[in-house]
């Protein structure tokens, strides 16, 4: 919805509410009695955020979604710095098609086709990356954004 057609309630639903929810999630994880022991077999705790790539490039009609996404990415970076090795956190940026059921923003960022085709499959392509992020051997990745959209978004 164009921002000029978006009343304050719709704006809150698209932008502000997701950020408030994200703050709540971060507080809940940070408030756990034992954030995690990076030296234990299970390793540190992991917090993985799933966002549309809209957060990276912005899309007409989805200004609030993009704003919230960038805000949550910054929150993840701040939490990564605050939590250190006790809880790592990573953003997975996926094709908007997977999150918006066809009613979302375009993921056609480039004049080129997605390098691996798109938009990917939640079970085989995205869930496996969540597994990877959660693996105890993954203990040196935090605060970053991993783009899992089949190679559409290739900017830094």
């Amino acid at each position: 919805m164009a921002i000029n057609d978006q009343d304050p309630d719709a704006w809150v639903a698209a932008c502000e509410a997701p950020m408030v929810e994200a703050i709540g999630v971060a507080r809940a994880v940070g408030g756990l009695a034992d954030l995690g022991d990076p030296t234990a077999e299970t390793g540190a705790r992991r917090l993985v955020w799933i966002l549309p790539t809209t957060a990276l490039g912005g899309s007409a009609g989805f200004v609030g979604v993009g704003a919230a996404g960038e805000g949550i990415r910054a929150l993840a970076k701040g939490m990564a710095r605050q939590w250190g090795p006790s809880c790592t956190t990573t953003v997975l940026a996926v094709s908007p098609t997977l999150l918006f059921d066809g009613s979302g923003p375009s993921d056609e960022w480039s004049l080129s086709l997605p390098a691996l085709g798109g938009p990917g499959d939640v079970t085989t392509d995205v869930a496996s990356l969540v597994d990877l992020m959660a693996d105890p051997r993954n203990r040196f990745t935090t605060g970053g954004t991993l783009v899992a959209d089949g190679g559409s978004w290739l900017a830094p």
């Binding site: 921002i3 507080r27 912005g58 805000g71 910054a74």
Partner: protein, 261 residues
Amino acid sequence: MNTSTIPSGAGLLDGRVALITGGGAGIGLGLATAMARHGAAVVLASRRSEVGEVAAAELRAEGLRAFWVRCDVTDPAEISAVVHSTAEDLGRLDCLIHNALDGSASGPLEDATDGDWAALAATSVRASYDCARIAHPHLRATGGSLVLLTSAAGMEGSEVRPLYAMAKAAQRGFAKGLAAEWGPDGIRVNCIAPVAMTPALAGAIHHDPSLGERLVARTPLGRIGDPIDDVGPVAVFLAGDLSRHVTGQTLVVDGGGFRGL
């Protein structure tokens, strides 16, 4: 004595009208001063008359066109009043810079209150939404420019001010999306991420001298910027025709301290 490196009458913004929220002091006043010296009529929109009135009077004493109007950006009615009165009284609106921000709580997330976030969100994200919607018809009429003030903290995250970083990042995301949406209307939307010696930063350095030393140490150009002469020209650029094909971008103006884009 005016030691500015910006020559008065340079004229890159002759005949243009700019509205700057939070324009009564600090970065906002620096941007307004630079734009006025380039020929723009500037409206300083801020809450405190004892600051904003004086700032506008000082600019007028320099021979510049500057006005102060009270505006609390958490109130859409006040934003609407200042935007529409600016366009009506000065004949047009070419550039709106949303710089105002309230809420600078520092510390880890668990120490931040819901009120801290509410103040930040109201003056950053929500005010960006309100300013944009209200200014849209005027900016469309002039092929104008919307500029939001953000921060490198929004790009690299902050464990000291996580919610501030979140709010500033959200404004940057807002600008990217709105640039795509408003491009067909001929309106450009960009961000400036500055570090400059404002009264607030000077106060913080007075309280903690090592802060100034650390800031300079991470800055390749070796000094903290000046709001008028270092950050101001970027606002002049984004408000004027020189940037007519630039939109959706963030210009980091910090002497090279942040180089992550």
